[in-house]
């Protein structure tokens, strides 16, 4: 037992002291924070104000109708033919002419530009003109703007899960999907990442020939177990760092933005809410972060965390024991490639299945995907935020443990023969034979 601890210690410390460990531990939180912070930063950034000259022959628009953060409108008079030649020299980015009969001829509006203007300028000019035009048309039809506003219903449904015993939990399927997606992706990446780390560790020991010295001191299964647990702990450490650093960094960025951010956000909301269409799309515009927060409030966090750790660790043990068996059978990483696909296929397959599971977490495919030991770690974690019956969870966990025991039995038998086998091209048939070699 003491020797296994020593091995765990070595595997853990040598990996945690590596530069690459810290790079990946720091890079991921920075990227996540960037995803969260960049949109805010872009929104806060003072935008360049475009100047537009406007010729309103219909005389419907007033300065107050054309207020926009990004565009400044100046009314002008004169002839369209002359003005369209001159606006650029006066320093305007664009010149807009509105015909007299704009309400009946909406296509008569022209935007002249010196350079190609961006879509956003075209859209904001169109939107401002359109809002006023609609307002006028409604008035003509006898509908006041108050009546119009009051007809803009904002339907934002709330999903409520009702369990058989009548217990209700409000849930947000959009948010659950995001949470499920994140957990599925993290499991997918880490199973591949740490599984292949175990494999490379085994190959390193075999190709550097230190293996024979080590197994004259400890049993092969002790070395294998120590390595798998040690690398697994590195994985858990990395998760912990990711969580703590991401949380810390996002807190720091929020602090840095401070009040300014709040102002900008409310400003953006105000501007958006002035235009009637935006009211309808507001619920979709809610930030993913607040959705996740909403889900986090409605789900059983300790259960999710416990299940995540369980599925990561047992799933990782299952796959890494198979990766270790492959590593023991070959002498170089390139030689390993012909065998790794067989272990990688179920991981990739379970990630693909997880896409279906996310769409329909209670379908038959999702059920079986979350039961079969090879696909269950990713798929059960994807199903979990939507709510899973307790018996299914327990069955899935039990099956995963059985699967792990089976895989580790096979792997340990291949491993103990493989690590001492040199100079022989290994075939599948050969691996099969090793299973039945005596000690």
């Amino acid at each position: 037992m003491n020797k296994i601890l020593l091995i765990i210690q070595r595997e853990y410390i040598t990996r945690v002291l590596k530069k690459s460990f810290w790079i990946s531990s720091l890079l991921a939180p920075v990227l996540i924070t960037a995803i969260y912070a960049i949109p805010i930063w872009l929104a806060m950034k003072d935008k360049e104000v475009k100047r537009v000259e406007i010729l309103d022959l219909s005389a419907l628009w007033k300065k107050s109708d054309l207020l926009d953060k990004e565009v400044q409108f100046d009314f002008t008079t004169g002839k369209e033919q002359d003005l369209k030649m001159l606006f650029a020299s006066k320093g305007y980015d664009a010149f807009v002419s509105i015909p007299k009969d704009v309400l009946t001829n909406p296509k008569g509006v022209h935007i002249y530009t010196a350079k190609n203007i961006g879509m956003s300028l075209k859209e904001s000019v169109e939107k401002l003109i359109q809002n006023k035009a609609r307002h006028e048309l409604l008035l003509k039809a006898g509908i006041s703007s108050q009546i119009y506003e009051s007809t803009q219903v904002d339907i934002d449904s709330k999903t409520i899960t009702v369990s058989t015993d009548g217990q209700e939990t409000s849930s947000s399927s959009g948010g659950a999907m995001i949470l499920a997606g994140i957990m599925g992706l993290v499991l997918y990446v880490t199973l591949l990442l740490y599984g292949s780390q175990v494999m490379n560790g085994v190959i390193e020991e075999k190709s550097s020939r230190i293996i024979e010295v080590i197994i004259s001191s400890v049993k092969p299964y002790q070395l294998l177990l120590g390595k798998i647990i040690g690398v697994g702990l590195v994985g858990l450490t990395q998760f912990l760092l990711w969580i703590v650093l991401t949380f810390g960094l996002t807190q720091v960025t929020s602090k840095l933005y401070g009040e300014k951010e709040k102002n900008t956000l409310t400003q953006i909301k105000q501007i958006e809410s002035t235009s009637p269409e935006s009211v309808m799309s507001r619920s979709e515009n809610e930030s993913p972060m607040s959705e996740v927060t909403k889900v986090l409030e409605s789900t059983n966090i300790p259960l999710i965390i416990a299940a995540f750790l369980f599925y990561f660790f047992v799933g990782y043990m299952l796959y890494s024991s198979l990766f270790a068996a492959i590593g023991s059978a070959v002498e170089s990483a390139t030689e390993a490639q012909q065998f790794t696909f067989i272990v990688m296929i179920p991981i990739i397959l379970s990630f693909l299945m997880a896409q279906y599971t996310m769409q329909d977490p209670d379908s038959t495919i999702a059920f079986w995907a979350s039961m079969i030991p090879f696909t269950s770690p990713i798929n059960m974690m994807v199903r979990l935020p939507y709510g899973v019956p307790v018996w299914e969870l327990i069955l899935s966990m039990a099956l995963l443990i059985l699967g792990f025991l089976g895989c580790s039995w096979v792997s340990a038998r291949i491993y103990r023969v493989g690590i001492l086998m040199y100079g022989k091209k290994v075939t599948w048939k050969e691996l099969g034979k090793w299973l039945f070699y005596k000690g």
Binding site: R10, E205, R209, I210, E212, V213
Partner: protein, 299 residues
């Protein structure tokens, strides 16, 4: 006896690696395990190291059946040896010593002694990657002996050593023997056997074909050939003696069975002034080749 191998059989899928091997390795001696490639030496060594288990037979270590607790009393330097390339020399040796059951503090103090002894004091923090081959061999040797094993198993220890390191290694092996440990050599190099070993066993085709004390084995293979140097003219015929070669003032003679050297000497001195009369002891190289060829022709 530090180690008794009794009737050990090891079968692999398609061939018999060890066929009822019996060996007695006396305590405090240097024992040479000889044999051509593929004879079964490595299979036997792996069984003694408990890396694999025999299919049949028994191994007695220091009076007890060999078991997991004996691992810490054996030191093993495999023929194909390596180290963790990225680890520092000191950390690596400390790790290997602890795997052999030493406490951390004990391992550190013993390792420091060895670093001073082999004059490598400033290597502790060097990564193995930076070491030359000879430096790596020193490191591996320390890893093999630091836990002061009762039995030291060295598989082709001199392969790849330069003459200076080979001499250092030889001296250390003798020093370890002085302290009462037993050394089991596996080797092809007959000069090593002749120089260092007290006892030998020769394995060929999975069987022990020759075993015993070095001197006794050499006597067994003596062919009663003598070399003489003299002044004068040697007659063409001598009673009970076959003259093999004559080369100026020296010759080689083969004595017929039952003829004692004293009888031959008394004959010779009547003809010439005898300066030297020496028996030619067969080299282990010759014995090795002879025995291997003999056993091969039985097959």
């Amino acid at each position: 006896m530090i180690l008794s191998v009794r009737q050990v059989v090891k079968k692999y899928q398609d061939h018999l690696a060890l066929d009822h091997i019996d060996l007695e390795i006396p305590k405090g001696k240097i024992f040479g395990l000889l044999g051509p490639n593929g004879a079964g030496k490595t299979s036997l060594i792996r069984i003694i190291n408990q890396i694999t288990a025999p299919d049949f037979g028994q191994i007695i270590f220091d009076g007890e059946p060999l078991s997991a607790k004996h691992v810490d009393q054996i030191g093993y330097l495999p023929e194909e040896r390596g180290l963790y390339k990225k680890m520092k020399v000191g950390d690596q040796l400390l790790y290997l010593a602890q795997l052999k059951g030493m406490s951390k503090s004990e391992a550190i103090s013993k390792l420091k002694d060895w670093f001073i002894r082999l004059d490598i004091k400033d290597w502790w923090n060097k990564p193995v990657d930076d070491l030359s081959k000879g430096m790596q061999q020193k490191t591996q040797f320390i890893a093999t002996v630091v836990h002061e094993p009762k039995l030291l198993i060295l598989d082709e220890p001199f392969s790849g050593f330069d003459p200076i390191n080979a001499n250092m290694l030889k001296d250390e092996i003798l020093a370890i023997k002085e302290r009462g440990a037993t050394i089991l050599f596996s080797t092809h190099r007959m000069e090593t056997v002749e120089e260092l070993c007290d006892d030998i066993a020769l394995i060929n085709h999975s069987r022990v074909v020759l075993a015993g004390e070095k001197v006794e084995v050499q006597n067994r293979y003596k062919q009663h050939i003598f070399k003489i140097r003299y002044i004068g003219n040697l007659p063409h015929e001598l009673g009970g003696v076959d003259i093999l070669t004559v080369n100026g003032q020296s010759a080689t003679l083969k004595l017929a069975d039952g003829i004692r050297s004293n009888e031959v000497i008394s004959q010779i001195i009547t003809h010439v002034d005898l300066l030297e009369f020496q028996e030619i002891i067969p080299s282990f190289n010759d014995i090795f080749i002879q025995v291997v060829n003999e056993t091969n022709s039985y097959e």
